[in-house]
């Protein structure tokens, strides 16, 4: 009996070690994810159902009251509208510029050296951090900055336009800055996609008499479709959370002209100390991003 037990143990010990080993390797990552991701998310969701947490030592459960207050807040409505314009405009123009530059860089008519230099120059905006981009464009968009100077010497405008300080221009200006900062990601990804399209398809289409536009819409775009869908979904999640660029250029102003979901949440939490309402707004944003993430994962699985 004793001998049998030892045998069983000897046989099972390596298999147990084998079974547990992968989990042990995963353990540090799982612990980190738990501490840095799962617990904070659970805490924020919990906060959103309580009366003013952190400030109030004994917060009371208030159900959906914080969500009701948020939806009744007129600034929240403005922030949602601005976010839609900002995110929508950014995604559309990221796509247009990214695709256009990728097609240009993929053409056989350019010299290899010209292509290499152009790739570096066109990808440059992606290398800068948000703070550098904000400072750079704040200086250029200053009423006494280079943009107004160029407009005046070319007789396109005689007045000093307040790009970031005017309610008419501010949202347009920060959307433009974000487009400038983000198109290289599309460009690089689409360029990789373009280089993966078999040349046979274009040759066959040329034999069939297809023109450039037909080749682009019938071959290039359908071939790039899986990459485009992934890019749009990722860009949506990243752009909707954009904070640093907006905060450092306009701070959500003038008045609420560039107020976004991200700046709205920040002000609620760190300026008004309404942590529960800030949590409720963050939960709304989390739900939107999660829906997009689910579509993204499903799309990725579909591809596999």
């Amino acid at each position: 009996m004793k001998a049998n037990s030892i045998n069983i143990y000897k046989q099972d010990a390596p298999s147990l070690r084998k079974k547990t080993e992968p989990y042990l390797y995963l353990l540090p990552t799982l612990l980190l994810m738990c501490v840095l991701l799962i617990i904070p998310i659970i805490m924020v969701i919990r906060y959103s159902f309580y009366d003013n947490v952190i400030i109030n030592k004994n917060p009371v459960f208030v159900g959906l009251e914080n969500f009701k207050l948020i939806f009744e807040n007129s600034t929240f409505v403005v922030a949602v509208k601005n976010t839609i314009v900002f995110v929508g405009g950014s995604i559309v123009f990221h796509m247009i510029f990214g695709l256009a530059f990728a097609v240009v860089l993929n053409t056989k008519y350019l010299h290899r050296r010209t292509k290499a230099v152009s790739r570096v120059l066109l990808a440059l905006p992606w290398m800068f951090t948000a703070s550098v981009i904000a400072i750079l464009w704040k200086m250029m968009m200053n009423p006494n900055g280079i943009i107004n100077y160029l407009l005046s010497v070319t007789n396109l405008s005689s007045s000093h336009i307040e790009w970031l300080a005017s309610r008419d221009f501010a949202l347009f200006s920060i959307t433009f800055i974000n487009i400038w900062a983000g198109y290289p990601f599309y460009m690089v990804s689409l360029l990789a996609g373009l280089q993966g399209i078999p040349n046979d398809l274009y040759e066959a289409a040329a034999i069939d008499g297809a023109n450039i536009s037909q080749r682009f819409f019938r071959i290039t775009l359908p071939q790039l479709k899986p990459i485009i869908i992934s890019l749009v979904m990722l860009d949506f999640v990243w752009t909707i959370q954009q904070f640093a660029l907006i905060w450092m250029t306009t701070g959500g102003g003038p008045i609420n002209a560039t107020e976004m979901m991200s700046t709205f949440i920040y002000k609620l939490g760190f300026s008004k100390y309404e942590y529960a309402q800030a949590s409720a707004s963050a939960v709304i944003l989390l739900v939107v991003c999660t829906i997009v993430a689910i579509f993204y994962v499903r799309h990725q699985r579909g591809q596999e």
Binding site: S5, E162, A165, P254, I255
Partner: protein, 444 residues
Amino acid sequence: MLKLKAFHKTSFAVLLIALLLTLTACGNNNSSPSNTSGSSGSQSDTGSSGNSGGSDITLEFQQWWGVELPDGALQEIVDGFTAQTGIKIKLLSNPYADTRTQIAAGAAAGTMADVVGLDGSWVYDFAKQGAIANLTALMEADGYDDSQLSDQIRVDGNTFMIPVVNFAYPMYVNLDLVNEAGVSIPTNWTEFVNVTKTIKEKTGKAGWAIPLSTESPSGIQNNFMSWLWASGGSMLKDGKPNLAGNDDLIATLEFVKQLFDNGVVAQGAYAMKEADMVEEFTNGRVAFMTDSLAHLTTIKSEAPDLNIDFIPIPVKDGYTGKSGMDVANWGIGIAENSKYKAEAMKFIEYMMSPEVNAKLAVLANAFPGNIHAQPDYPADNTLFLKAYEIYQAGYAINEFTGLPTSEELMRQFDEQLQLYLDGDTKTAAEMLEKTQEIWVKAFK
């Protein structure tokens, strides 16, 4: 099979014990025999350990001052306290914004450092959270004479912060632009309107600048309200907002709108921050600005040839009383969770003693918080001495200090001001009524 089960049980038991030990270690942090720092979350209602002479006591002092003072200067000052009392001071120095975040996190978690550097705009919220200690009680318990303090920041009648040094906001003048336009220094609002108009016409440069970015709305306090305070006005009555129907504020708003309508204000004001305004002035594009004296060194080093001077802020026509000068300060307070409140109070008394306070004021290019302090400012710094004279001729004021969510109050005022300047709100009285309506919610 049994052995396998035993292996599982043993592993489980070992894991459980390890987990319990870890949790116990975390939980027992407060009862650690070490006397280092009272910031571990232990609540002390008595306010003191009663041990004021203990050489093994270490107080944590969290602030942003150490970063802004010359290297090692703050350490040298606190070492003087250790030499006197035997109580060690551990400095936790970080930039201003980081300090604010860390203190806010400490306030929420009950792990604040024993002594904290405070900004007046944080005091109300931390006091209401119960995160900082009532200094009135501690001063009384220690028999401290608070009449020597230039100011105390109170909430509900009790002191929670003591300003250690004050940074004044005088008016800077670009004398090159003034001379080029051939105008004299304005002393009242009418003169200021005319002078800035002439400067704009003759030099093409802006007469005045105001940073109104909502990201950092301190322009309301430092550049807008400074006009009101210089003319003896007030935005509060009995500590509550007094905006609606306030004739002094209506006059100030109309005066500022006139400057905007005349086109003499530096462009891009709604997205401008204080640093942008200083840059505009340093580059010689603005004739007048109200700004911290702390920026004088930077301006002189960036533009050594710029011919600048300080003047008292022009007052409302006919006003002959004393002028209030806007001040920001480095304040000090004690964490409610500190185990060594009495020792922390001794440290504050040391920092506020005339000699130490004067030394700190000289090092920080600021004005002392103790009225008996005699700072020995360098005699060759004539501009600084002139600003000090202007400061002493009037009185220090900052009505936003100690108000609830004061930064948010400034932001709300800022937004309403922009609506008024743009013509969306028709009259100054209407603008003030709307702002009053918004502000009172914060005071409930």
